[in-house]
Structure formats: structure tokens, C-alpha cells
Symmetry: C2
Subunit: 334 residues, 2 copies
């Protein structure tokens, strides 16, 4: 079935179901010129927005519609998490090419709604329109946070420990498997592909960390460890020393790299879209924060290096040598 | 100059200037994973978002970059106005094809910033990315309003007067002049083109009307009078009777229609993108509201018909006959 058979307003009626999953504080969701809702008193408001364009950010035949919707929502939730915040309301703009079926779009919305509902995020509105060539998806998410708990990029301090909530480089390996058409003949390959297609945002973890005290700066790994950490360094006017042997590399990535003669460290440093959180924690709180995190989530919080006042990003390699790391993550225009 | 010469982050540094025009309540604008700000206490928050795609909503050679930016911002401010609200923060996502020059983008942002600054709206963030073919622009605007003053589509009541803040059909005539390549050999043709390319949002007027008391429902004319009024009727479960002779048609549109043998009423009813406000006002307040409005803004508030309980949209034509009006505005998929 094509959209023109049901029209723009038939379509809007179709997607409404499952959008509003938390009624409190909402005065109006989908169906007016703007959504109307209350923010929580004494809280600061967070807003993030991400634009995905077919053939730039995704290929329709390389992912399912469900996973595309899921990932688009995940990227935005991850941005709210990277501030330490709680995501609350989402707005979806979609530009739909004529040949796109309603069944495809239903699946896409299912993916978005599934992850939104998991985090109790409402879809309160958006814009639905046509597109000549490419499918276009822009999501805006509004979140909330206590002003004293915001984790800014500019708040890292010399002496801070640098920690990652998860493994790095998996998503990039998954992307290579997809782009190079490598047959998925083992479960570990599928897991790497899943890390790319269906990343999980560290929303609960971020709220926990922001409320602990002692966590200074945060960012999510969207462009790559070296690039995203560089944003913290530049914003904070500091430097950092990473320890190569401490950078968390999954067994799956190690197996992938062994089989295809790749360097896992290179994947971990410059591979993007892991959506793990990088945080910096004051040295006197580092042990407490790690222990509390590991007890609560039963998963490690990886210590990967330290902030210093050098203004440079360096790494101690396995031989003990100190090398400068260049920010080699993703730049959309280079 | 091309974007790849300065890169994504050079570009973000470039557009920062003129984005933050009101510092109070802002904790963080451009430059982190999300913007952080305070909303006003006891106020409800409004969010609207609009997606513009090249070759669907605009042709690059039919408008200037400045006017494109201006109009994209105007459409969003108009959506906040249509709720009676005050726009406060804007977020701009842009997908940029490789052949797009920095000079073009500078002009585009100038257009957005110009109108945003005029209404004291900050640009607090967004997303900048590539696009394979078409220029893509998605703007999200966050506004504020007293909960008791929100003008919902669903709030029209039988007996209400229906009023328009401005002339209808000008924008559609301007579009026809552009698309048909009609030479602009008279000022009235230029004015119609301007109405299409650089519509003005009725932001101050909306705030004034929402705070007066007695104004029930509102919508802005983006798809066309018949279509947008139908949204109010459907949402409110009511009908309406328009009076053909009262529908505000500008002298410019009359001259255009006379010269090109068109029906001005047809333009007024089904032409979109005028971005005038349609409001419904309780009968006992209609005269007071109109007089207060006209005294304040020194421009008429046009009475064009009445809400009734018929569930139909009808119009009294100049001969006195009553005809059903079909909602014939814009549907993006039909």
C-alpha cells in the first residue's frame, strides 16, 4: 500500500497508536500546530536533534526499517544521556519518497516506538512530508535534568579519570561487515553487525552516573573515541593520556580483527557509533563511582586513561611509548 | 568555498555568531550533546517542527538562500503563534549536498537568524550533516505559554465568529507567478511573490489575541483556508459557514486574477502558505476582540464566517446560495 492511498492525514491517524505512553504533564500530543506539555519544576530542559539522510547515514537494503527507526531514536536518547539527563518527549520529522510502502513506514515507526516506550518517552508530534529521492528522518528529543547534575563537555578537570560504559569499535566492525558483504557465518559476526544496526543508548546508566556526584564531563561515542574525547578536551581546555591496554575491546572485535587482519585498537579509537558514554570523574571519586556502577549494572565501567593539563591527546602504547593521537573520527564534510 | 575545506566543526564555529540573542535562562547553547535551558515556571512548553526538502518544498533557483532560511523559520514561528504562544528557542538540522557553497549557507543562516532575532528567539543547537542530492532543512522551535491561554484546534464552539488576521490567497498567486515564469512587470506581482517567499508569522498578534480572553481555537493557514479550517471543525466536532464576500482578498490578488483570468475566491480558499491566523471567538467577545486588535495593530481582523453545529463546511456565495466547501488544501501524499 502506498501513502497516496490514505493521504497525509490518514497516515497521521495511522501512526498515533503507541505514541503517548505517559500522560502526566501532557496537555496535547499529535494533532495540533504544536505539542503542549509541562516541564518539571526546578529542572532544566535539554533538547537534542539528529538528522538521518538515506545514502549518507543508512542504506535501505542494509538494515531493516525497524532497526532504522530504533537506531534513529537511540542516537537521540544517547545525546540526552550524554548530558546526564532523562529523555521525555520526542518529535519525528519524516520525508518520504513516493516508492516507500506503508508497511515499511509502519515498521520504521515500530522501531522508534519500541525504544521510546522502553524509556518511557512520548512521541508528541513531528512533521510528515514527501521527498523526491531519499528517505529523511529527523528526531528531536526533549529531556529533563537537575541543573546541578548536567554533565557538560567543558567540565573535565586535570586529574580526572576517563571511563567508558562499554566496548569500543564494535559498531565500526559491524559496518565493515555490512559494506564489504562479508558472509555472517558465525555468531560473533552477527553481534558486531547488531552493535552497528541496533546500538543501545546508556540512558539509565547516565542518570545513575550524573546523580552520583564526582562525575564531571560526559559525551557519547558517536564519531569515535579519539574524536569525541577531543571534543571534551577542547571544550575543557585540557589534555588526556589514554592507556592502550585499558581500552575496552570485545572478544568479538578481537576475533573479527584476527580473522580479517585488522587492528582492534584502530577500530576502538576511530570507529564511531558505539554510543557508549565517555565520562570523566574526579580522582577522589573514581573508585566509588566505579564500584557503585558495577554493583548496580553488573557490568564494568572501564577506566581508560586520565585527564591532564597538556592540551594534547596522547596514548601509552603496549610497549610503554607515548604517542600523540589524532582525532580521526567522522567529519560529515571531509 | 566548499564545506569540506573547513569541515563540520569549522562550519559550526562559523554559524555560531548571532545565534544567542537572549542569554537569560540559557545554560548551554550550541556546542554540547544537547542544549540546556530553563523554561519559565507555571508556563506550559510548546514544541513544533517542520521539515523542508528541496524539490518538494522549494527550488533553489526560485528563491534566495536568505528568503529560504527566513521562510523556514517563519513557518515554525507561525506554528507557535497558532497556539497563542511565544517562541523562544530554535534548533536547526541541515542536510547539505556537496555542491552547496558556504556563501549560500551563510545567507541561509542569515535569513533564519534575522527573523529569529526579530522575535528574540535563540538558535540553541541542531545537527549539520551531508545529503546526497537535496538540501534538507528541519527546524524545531520551543515556545512558552500560560496553560490557560493555549489556543487549541479542538476548542471552537458553535456560535463562534471566525476571523483571519490577514489576506488569503496571495501566497498561492506568488507561487504561480514563480512556477509559470510570469515576468514581474508591476509592483503588485512582486508583492504577491514576496508573500510566497517571505511570509510573516503573526507572533505578536497571536500573543495579543491569546491573552485577550474569548478567543477559543486557532490555526495558521499553511495548507489553505478550507483545509485548515476543516482541521478546526474536525477537531472541535463542529461545522462552519463562511461568507464569500467577507473573505479577505487583497487588491494585488484581485489585479492578478483579473489579468490572468483566475478566480480570487478559489485562491483564497485553497491556496496555502499565507501563514495568517484563523481564530474563532465567542460571539459575546467578537466585537471587543476585533476593536482591541484593530486599535493595537492598526490593521483589520477580518470576520469571515461563523462556527455552527452542522459538522459541515459551507459558504454563502455572492448570490446568497449556500454551497458545501471541500477541504482542498495541500496533502503531501495526494
Amino acid at each position: 500500500m502506498k501513502l497516496k492511498e490514505i493521504g497525509e492525514f490518514g497516515w497521521i491517524d495511522r501512526i498515533r497508536g503507541g505514541c503517548l505512553i505517559r500522560q502526566d504533564t501532557i496537555l496535547k500530543g499529535i494533532g495540533d500546530d504544536a505539542a503542549v506539555f509541562f516541564t518539571l519544576s526546578d529542572m532544566a530542559t535539554l533538547v537534542t536533534t539528529d538528522l538521518l539522510v538515506e545514502r549518507v547515514h543508512f542504506l535501505k537494503n542494509a538494515t531493516s526499517a525497524f532497526n532504522l527507526g530504533y537506531k534513529a531514536m537511540a542516537m537521540n536518547l544517547s545525546d540526552i544521556a550524554a548530558m546526564g539527563g532523562e529523555p521525555r518527549e520526542a518529535f519525528v520529522s519524516i520525508g518520504i519518497p513516493q516508492d516507500c510502502s506503508i508497511e515499511y513506514l509502519d515498521e520504521l515507526y515500530e522501531g522508534m516506538k519500541h525504544l521510546a516506550a522502553e524509556h518511557r518517552v512520548n512521541i508528541l508530534g513531528g512533521d510528515t512530508t514527501g521527498s523526491k529521492t531519499d528517505l529523511i528522518l529527523n528526531i528531536t528529543v526533549v529531556g529533563t535534568i537537575l541543573p546541578s547534575e548536567v554533565l557538560y563537555r567543558h567540565a573535565a578537570q586535570p586529574g580526572d579519570a576517563i571511563l567508558s560504559t562499554g566496548f569500543l569499535g564494535n559498531s565500526r566492525a559491524g559496518l565493515h561487515i555490512i559494506l564489504e558483504g562479508i558472509p555472517i557465518d558465525a555468531p560473533f559476526l552477527q553481534k558486531l553487525v547488531d552493535a552497528h544496526l541496533k546500538p543501545r543508548p546508556y540512558v539509565l546508566e547516565a542518570r545513575f552516573l550524573a546523580s552520583l556526584g564526582g562525575v564531571h564531563a560526559a559525551i557519547d561515542v558517536s564519531d569515535g573515541l579519539s574524536s569525541d574525547l577531543s571534543h571534551i578536551l577542547k571544550s575543557s581546555g585540557v589534555g588526556a593520556q589514554l592507556v592502550a591496554q585499558k581500552i575496552p575491546i570485545s572478544e568479538n572485535l578481537k576475533r573479527f580483527c584476527a580473522r580479517f587482519s585488522r587492528d582492534p585498537l584502530e577500530y576502538a579509537l576511530s570507529g564511531g557509533e558505539d554510543y557508549t558514554l565517555l565520562i570523566t570523574v574526579s580522582p577522589d571519586r573514581e573508585k566509588t563511582v566505579r564500584e557503585a556502577y558495577e554493583k548496580t549494572f553488573e557490568t564494568p565501567l572501564f577506566l581508560i586513561g586520565w585527564i591532564n593539563d597538556s592540551q594534547r591527546l596522547e596514548m601509552v602504547d603496549p610497549s610503554g611509548a607515548l604517542n600523540e593521537v589524532t582525532a580521526s573520527g567522522w567529519d560529515h564534510f571531509k
